[in-house]
Amino acid sequence: MSNSHSDTILLHPSSQSDIDEIENLIHASVQSCPTTVLPARPSSPPRASIPISSSPFIQSNIPPPPPLSSSTVRSAPAVPPPPPPVSNSGSLAATGFGSSPNTLTEPVLDTVKRDLSRIVSNLKLVVFPNPFREDPGKALRDWDLWGPFFFIVFLGLTLSWSASAKKSEVFAVAFALLAAGAVILTLNVLLLGGHIIFFQSLSLLGYCLFPLDVGALICMMEGNVILKMIVVCVTLAWSSWAAYPFMSTAVNPSRKALALYPVFLMYVSVGFLIIAID
């Protein structure tokens, strides 16, 4: 519907429909609210910078409305994103969305970078020794499942490569064992009365697989059984050490062993898989 985006507010009954009046009030409240907390953002780049084919979706240049005040976290002030051509689906380099700090309209590259940096920071937090680490129960707040996904697939691939026969079964077994094992371990903690979020614990157990990934890679290249056993023992200890703080802070101190023993058992079984593959 065509609205007049004028500044005058008509408070007395007029012949406008209700919806028009509400929309006018929205504009009025928008324009009368104090300047928002958003930092000054540069204006969105000209539309011509988007790679365009002859696409029917490009709208005419509509000036962005002033943003609503971002008082609550859940409201989303936005510059309306210019819809890119649908043929752009595969490319992740569309950067013509405007640079509002709001995540809804950020460029796609920013989202990719943000997710990747989250994976790296989670990995550093979980696996590597860090004396300045804050309370481990609260760490890994930014859980994500991409890291664990990559690690599980990588471990399955490595095991499958090392196997000389029955490669697909090895892979399927490894993948199913790790995925189901993570779910069951999480349920174990929850049933013991622990305070941990389901996905947070899944993500944690996945990240703790990283040392075993390294161990499997080394074992793939080495043939000596004694060396493999040493490598696996070292990486197993590293994985368990990495998982210990998170698991132990999540449950009652009297039930710590009950929560930690299955984790250790699962990593031991993965270690055996790595050694036994020939």
């Binding site: 929205i26 976290v73 859940r74 936005a78 595969g90 809804l104 129960g137 691939l157 697909s168």
Partner: protein, 164 residues
């Protein structure tokens, strides 16, 4: 967006043409499905329907679902066809993986059932997330509208009394 979903489905169907080994089929299908999940969640959702959802854990250790939506004018400006395309392909994707799951159950191929289970759960996750997000957006709009109606009502009353 539907390109990425279609590529995962197509690779699964035509997998025997491409590779002999189950491992490669599994990995590529699951990787394509995961990429498609990411693309739909982060790119298509924002562009086609202006919605975005994610999960955070706050200081007390509780998990909160956060939803974002465009403000009302931008929502009104969203192309109706875009929105229908988005939702329909989301549902069709889940239905297609469900059918493949039934097929592999009937043929008792547990390996392929694993692949289908992973892709199906990714599709369901996206559906649930976006449905919750849309409901939340509608609630927000209603709340905002009722707030403005209430404020308008009270200001009308005030102006009426001031005139008296």
């Amino acid at each position: 967006m539907d390109l990425s979903q279609a590529s995962a489905l197509a690779f699964y169907i035509l997998s025997t043409l491409f590779a002999n080994s189950f491992v490669i089929i599994f990995v590529i299908t699951v990787v394509l499905a995961a990429l498609d999940f990411w693309v739909v969640k982060n790119v298509s959702g924002r562009i086609l329907v202006g919605l975005r959802w994610w999960n955070e854990i706050n200081e007390q250790g509780e998990s909160i679902w956060r939803f974002e939506c465009l403000d009302q004018e931008s929502l009104a400006r969203i192309n109706q066809k875009d929105s229908m395309l988005f939702w329909w392909t989301l549902y069709l994707n889940a239905v297609a993986w469900g059918i493949f799951g039934i097929f592999s159950m009937v043929r008792l191929e547990v390996d392929y059932l694993l692949v289908v289970a992973v892709c199906f759960s990714l599709a369901i996750a996206n559906i649930i997330g976006f449905t919750k997000c849309r409901k939340d957006a509608r609630n927000k709009i209603q709340a905002f509208a009722s707030r403005t109606i209430a404020s308008r009502f009270s200001s009308t009353l005030q102006s009426a009394f001031s005139l008296v």
